[in-house]
């Protein structure tokens, strides 16, 4: 056991894993088929991507600190905004949620591992080469693609080889996601412990079940869009070239048919994590479990029929605009249901406010703000003014950062004791929460005003009236970025030691099967399935 460092998650001393002769050293990780190890690798990978995408953001915010081009040529600035988006969406947020899925779904359904353990390994190890392609694309002639993370045609056709590297990377990332989703669906549908009906399953598993179906439905659509871009670029096709009989707007339709479910892919698992945490720290069961399941399913189904709300200014007939406006506004209803259910869970509970609960409450508060700006953007006449402005940037950062990212933080703090066997430093955790909340709002709240005043997105330089709020946003961004280094310190400190965690450190009542196994969770759990009443 000496090759494995003390405290590495999944290696409880005294467990009889010697009998299984599982590999140690580098083989343990390269050949990993254990859902805990693979989950750990996903989480570390996504955090590395998060820091990389964050550096890109700080670089572009540095340029935007003042009007004028102080630091970069504008085409490099566009590379920064593009790759910040691509890396955060595909490299940070999505793999992080898959990491949670890997760690927690088998534990929560009482299964010994994921259904397809070797495919699980492949799903993970596809990611580092894809990430390498993305980062390396900065260093080829012409640099990384600068077409925005949405890669609209025909601008995408003008990009250099960095664009092709990004297309290749996206294909690889998509394949990884599809395989992961197959694994998740099969595990949840086939490997639940006896007695665990679907309607007794933890909400985190429900949200991932639905998310996995979304992924399987739409990742191939993205693959289609970027493959057509590839052939337009190199093989003489004219899918998006009007001069050849094609239509640039068709790219937008295909991309956003993927793109809108994609944003729900990034938030539904977050909803699941929050639904696990709030009941535990309110010491009260989740209110309206069945409604929460139906609301999640409604959101997922509705997400397929709203994509053109990203395209209100493309010139579609007014009937089309009206349909997409109404359908989009409808999504506010099941989303509101979920918020109310969390509130009702807290109501007349007995709450304590450790870091997971702080991030969860922070999530509910700030994600709702993002939800409201989404509703405002859904109103097509208003969207005509706000489309492609910083109001949109504010909206999606509120739901993705204060939404998805805060939920990920909440989940990490919640389950770190289970993963590592130690309690994290609660004081530092609270510092991380408050600093993140303050700097996040400093950065992105002022962007609503910039957007209302008409400042366009993806601008390397801007007129003088936008200067003050840009300066504030840049200061906030640097504060937010530095605060995440504190998070890294907290996690490493927890892995290396800390107060020993019991099986159920949060004293969850009916909190889920993960709290019935020791902390840290042994390498193998539920070799014999538990019986659920």
């Amino acid at each position: 056991m000496s090759a494995v460092p003390h405290g590495t998650p999944g290696t409880a001393v005294g467990h009889d894993d010697h009998a299984h002769d599982h590999p140690h050293g580098w083989r343990r990780w390269l050949y990993a088929t254990n859902h805990k190890d693979i989950g750990t690798m996903y989480l570390w990978f996504s955090f590395a991507m998060f820091l990389t995408g964050g550096v890109l953001a700080l670089m572009l915010r540095a340029e935007l600190f003042q009007p004028g081009l102080q630091l970069y040529r504008p085409e490099f600035f566009n590379q920064l905004t593009t790759m910040h988006g691509v890396i955060m969406v595909f490299g940070a947020i999505m793999p992080a949620f898959v990491g949670f899925a890997n760690w927690m779904i088998p534990l929560q359904v009482g299964a010994p591992d994921m259904a397809f353990a070797r495919m699980n390994n492949f799903s993970f190890w596809l990611l580092p080469p894809a990430a390498l392609l993305l980062v390396a694309s900065f260093f080829v002639p012409g640099g990384a693609t600068a077409a925005g993370w949405t890669l609209y045609a025909p601008l995408s056709v003008q990009m250099g080889p960095g664009m092709d590297m990004a297309i290749f990377a996206l294909h690889i990332l998509g394949a990884s996601s599809i395989m992961g989703s197959i694994n998740i669906i099969t595990t949840i549908l086939n490997m639940r412990a006896p007695g665990m009906t679907l309607m007794k399953m933890p909400m985190f598993c429900w949200t991932w079940l639905i998310t996995a179906y979304l992924l399987i439905a739409v990742m191939p659509v993205l693959a289609g869009a970027i493959t057509m871009t590839l052939t337009d670029r190199h093989f003489g096709t004219n899918f998006f070239n009007a001069a050849g009989g094609g239509d640039p707007v068709m790219y937008q339709h295909i991309f956003w048919f993927f793109g809108h479910p994609e944003v729900y892919i990034m938030i539904l698992p977050a909803f699941g994590i929050i639904s696990q945490i709030v009941p535990v720290f309110s010491r009260k069961p989740l209110f309206g479990y069945a409604s929460m399941v139906y609301a999640t399913a409604s959101i997922a189904i509705l997400s397929f029929i709203v994509w053109a709300h990203h395209m209100f200014t493309t010139g579609m007939p007014v009937t089309g605009q009206l349909f997409f406006m109404y359908a989009t506004m409808l999504i506010a209803v099941p989303t509101g249901v979920k918020i109310f259910n969390w509130l009702a869970t807290m109501w007349r509970g007995a709450m304590t406010f450790e870091t997971p609960m702080l991030f969860s409450i922070g999530f509910i508060f700030v994600f709702t703000m993002g939800g409201f700006t989404g509703l405002i953007l859904a109103m097509a006449p208003i969207d005509i003014q706000l489309h492609d402005t910083y109001y949109v940037v504010a909206h999606f950062h509120y739901v993705l950062v204060a939404g998805s990212l805060f939920a990920l933080f909440a989940g990490v703090y919640f389950w770190l004791p289970k993963w590592t066997g130690h309690m994290y430093d609660e004081t530092l955790g609270k510092w991380h929460f408050w600093l993140s909340m303050i700097f996040f709002n400093l950065t992105f709240f002022v962007m609503h005003f910039l957007g209302l005043a008409g400042m366009p997105r993806r601008y390397a330089d801007y007129p003088m009236q936008f200067a003050d709020f840009n300066m504030v946003a840049t200061v906030g961004a640097f504060g937010f970025g530095l605060t995440q280094l504190l998070f890294l310190y907290i996690v490493i400190k927890c892995i290396n030691g800390g107060q020993k965690a019991s099986d159920n450190p949060w004293e969850a009542r009916d909190g889920g099967l993960e709290w019935t196994v020791p902390s840290p969770a042994p390498f193998h759990t539920f070799d014999t399935p538990p019986v659920v009443k």
């Binding site: 004028g68 609209y152 209803v333 007995a350 409450i361 109103m379 208003i382 390397a460 801007y462």
Partner: protein, 383 residues
């Protein structure tokens, strides 16, 4: 808690109606320049969008305050540290129905005025003047197609000096209140007339947007879209390109000057005369010296941003022209000017004289001495 919601819903409806009535009466009083809100509106559509936004903001803020009032009350009252004991309830079908139906109704109430405005925004019929706006990388082209001023045609490019942008003249930039919002040729239209703007593009997707007018429309290569506005106040209104279109996306603004009818007629007549005068005599025989002199300004306005004033380009991004094999060859240079290549756009929209002049200029500047290119050469290559 259910009673609270019902009361809130009725109260909300009353407040919404009151807010809307207030806004209707306030009307143009909204046109207070604020750093926190939409641009002061100068069209009826822009005013309606303002009103819609206020309505949404008020409703959403009220719901937000109500919901988070409840949450923060709960956080304060239902804490374990003050001895609260957790209740056990965990479902109620009645409550779920209530907080599904009420938001559904609120959403319908929001959608009604939005529908009205959206339908009005789409009605581009019976315009007084029709102008085509073409997006180029990286400027706009305006063609007055129908109505008073018909036949006027010009390009409109950013006129902020490069040294204010790249940092060699920060003092001038700080003093420039229209930094990045000024152009050489403004779009001029008369007040109180319905102006239909047809948008298209030459290369990639751009978008034509002017916040004060309440308009934004994508400019898509190979397709035509349209939008309209009727400005009710004389003045200058500034807008931007709103769709990422390459390196100078931030450097192709829009300036619309709305004049009184009388002033507009004067401007239109003068502009038409000017266009005739500027038109190059098709029979003129150009000398190399004349082409060189004409080519300098064309280079500065179109090529310098990438290939630099010293013709050295930018290593790894834009090729240098000084000593370039392409520049040395007559056929190759004409081909790349007309057709573009990768990041370099095509320049077909420049005239034969302008293209011949800039080709001659690059062929005979810095260390180059590669002869002249005549307008006839360009015309022949276009076919």
């Amino acid at each position: 808690m259910k009673l609270l919601i019902t009361k809130g819903a009725a109260g909300l409806a009353a407040r919404v109606l009151a807010a809307l009535a207030l806004l209707g009466a306030a009307g143009t009083a909204l046109a207070v320049q604020s750093r926190y809100n939409l641009a002061p509106p100068v069209t009826q559509i822009a005013r309606e969008i303002h009103a819609l936004h206020w309505m949404m903001l008020i409703i959403c803020t009220l719901i937000f305050v109500a919901v988070f009032g409840v949450m923060f009350y709960s956080i304060w009252k239902h804490r374990k540290s003050t001895g609260a004991k957790p209740a056990d309830f965990h479902e109620s079908t009645k409550v779920e129905i209530a907080w599904t139906v009420v938001p559904f109704i609120i959403v319908i109430v929001m959608a009604l005025p939005a529908t009205k405005t959206l339908v009005a925004q789409k009605d581009t019929t019976n315009a007084d003047i029709t102008i085509k706006a073409t997006g180029y990388q990286w400027k706009w082209g305006y063609d007055y197609l129908k109505g008073e001023g018909e036949g006027i045609s010009f390009l409109s490019a950013l006129s902020t000096p490069r040294d204010q942008i790249d940092g060699s003249n920060d003092a001038a930039r700080t003093a420039n209140m229209t930094y990045l919002m000024e152009v050489d040729n403004e779009l001029v239209v008369p007040v109180d007339k319905k102006i239909r703007i047809i948008t298209t593009a030459n290369d990639v997707i751009h978008a034509w947007g002017v916040p004060a007018l309440g308009v934004k429309q994508d400019a898509i290569p190979g397709f035509v879209r349209d939008t309209w506005f009727r400005a009710d106040k004389v003045g200058v209104y500034r807008g931007h390109c709103y769709e990422l279109c390459g390196r100078d996306h931030a450097f192709m603004p829009i300036v619309v000057r709305v004049l009184s009818q009388a002033d507009y007629s004067k401007w239109a007549a003068a502009k038409q005369k000017e266009m005739v005068a500027l038109k190059d005599d098709p029979n003129k025989v150009w000398s190399e010296a004349e082409l060189l002199a004409r080519g300098g300004p064309v280079y500065a306005a179109n090529c310098q941003a990438c290939h630099q004033a010293n013709g050295q380009g930018v290593k790894g991004a834009f090729p240098g022209l000084d000593g370039s094999k392409v520049v040395a060859s007559k056929a190759d240079q004409i081909a790349i000017l007309l057709n573009g290549k990768n990041a370099m756009p095509a320049w077909r929209q420049l005239s034969d004289v302008e293209l011949a002049a800039v080709a001659t200029y690059t062929k005979n500047s810095w260390g180059n001495k590669f002869g002249a290119v005549l307008p006839a050469d360009i015309a022949a290559a276009r076919r």
